[in-house]
C-alpha cells in the first residue's frame, strides 16, 4: 500500500526541493504545493520507473558527493591550465579501458558522469554487455595508474552505496 502511494520517496523529496528552488520563496503554501507535486508526479509516472534503486550507507554517499565536488574544482583548474599553457605537441591523449565491477545501471550511470566531470578523463562508451567502459584521457603518462585511480577513488564507494 505504502509502496503504491509513495513509489519513490527520494524522487518525491527531490521534486519538492526543486519546486521550492523554482519559486525561490519558502512559504508554507509553496511547501504544501511542492509536497503535492512530489507526491503526485512519482505516482503518475510510476509505470516508467519499474525498479527502485537501493541506496545503502548514506554517509559513504555524502562523502562521495563531497569528494567529487572537490575533484571537479581541481579537475577544472588542471584542464584550464593545460589548455592555456601546454603546447599541442606535448599532449599525450589516450583511450583507456576500465573494466567494471558495478552491475546496477544507476551505479554505472553515476560512475560515467563522475569520470566525465573529473581530472582529464571523459567516458565515451560502454561495451555491449556493460562490463567495461571506454575512457578518453586528455593527458596521461601512466595508463594503468589512471585506471587504478578511477577504480579506487570512484568505483569502490559507489559499490558500497549501490550494491
Amino acid at each position: 500500500m505504502i509502496r503504491r502511494l509513495i513509489p519513490h520517496p527520494f524522487l518525491s523529496i527531490a521534486l519538492t526541493l526543486v519546486w521550492l528552488g523554482l519559486v525561490n520563496k519558502v512559504t508554507p503554501g509553496n511547501v504544501l504545493l511542492g509536497a503535492i507535486l512530489g507526491w503526485v508526479v512519482p505516482m503518475v509516472t510510476a509505470p516508467y520507473w519499474p525498479n527502485r534503486p537501493t541506496l545503502r550507507r548514506p554517509m559513504v554517499a555524502i562523502r562521495y558527493v563531497l569528494v567529487v565536488l572537490w575533484d571537479i574544482v581541481v579537475a577544472n583548474v588542471q584542464v584550464a591550465l593545460m589548455i592555456a599553457f601546454k603546447r599541442n605537441e606535448d599532449f599525450r591523449s589516450h583511450w583507456v579501458v576500465v573494466p567494471l565491477e558495478l552491475t546496477s545501471p544507476e551505479a554505472i550511470t553515476v560512475l560515467a558522469g563522475t569520470i566525465t566531470m573529473t581530472p582529464g578523463t571523459l567516458s565515451a562508451m560502454l561495451s555491449a554487455d556493460a562490463r567495461s567502459i571506454l575512457v578518453h584521457c586528455l593527458h596521461t603518462e601512466d595508463l594503468e595508474g589512471t585506471v587504478a585511480e578511477i577504480k579506487r577513488r570512484y568505483e569502490q564507494p559507489l559499490k558500497e552505496v549501490f550494491e
Binding site: 558522469g113 566531470m117 562508451m125
Partner: protein
C-alpha cells in the same frame, strides 16, 4: 562591509570569465576532436559555476534576499554536461573511427556502437 563583499563578487565574476574563455579557447587550440571535448565539459562548467555563485552572493549580500535559483541551473548543467559529452563522443566515434582503432574491450562483447548486446533471456 559593502566593499569586502563587492571584492568577493568581483573576484568570482572575473574567475568565471577567465575559465569560460579558456574553455572556449580549447575549441580553437586543440587539434583532435576528442581533445576538444574536454574543454567545454570542464573549464566552461566551472566558469559558469563561478558566475552563478557570484550571482547568488550578489543577491544575498547586496540586495539582501536569499536566492536559490542559481543552484538549480548549476545542478542542471552538472547533470547534463556528462550526457552531452557522451553523446558527442559517440557521434564522433561512429562517424570517424572504426573497430580497429579503438582498444579492445576487456570483456566478452565489443563496444556497444558496433556490437549488439547479449539478449536478456540469456541471463
Amino acid at each position: 562591509m559593502a566593499t569586502v563583499s563587492e571584492v568577493l563578487i568581483a573576484i568570482f565574476i572575473v574567475f568565471g570569465g577567465v575559465f569560460g574563455l579558456v574553455g572556449s579557447y580549447g575549441l580553437l587550440k586543440l587539434r583532435e576532436t576528442m581533445q576538444r571535448l574536454h574543454g567545454p565539459t570542464k573549464a566552461t562548467t566551472l566558469g559558469i559555476g563561478c558566475v552563478l555563485i557570484a550571482s547568488m552572493l550578489f543577491f544575498f549580500l547586496i540586495k539582501g534576499n536569499l536566492s536559490i535559483h542559481e543552484l538549480l541551473i548549476t545542478l542542471f548543467l552538472f547533470l547534463t554536461a556528462p550526457i552531452t559529452a557522451n553523446f558527442i563522443a559517440k557521434t564522433f566515434i561512429i562517424r570517424n573511427l572504426s573497430k580497429d582503432t579503438l582498444p579492445e574491450s576487456r570483456s566478452d562483447y565489443g563496444w556497444s556502437v558496433y556490437d549488439d548486446p547479449p539478449t536478456l533471456t540469456e541471463e
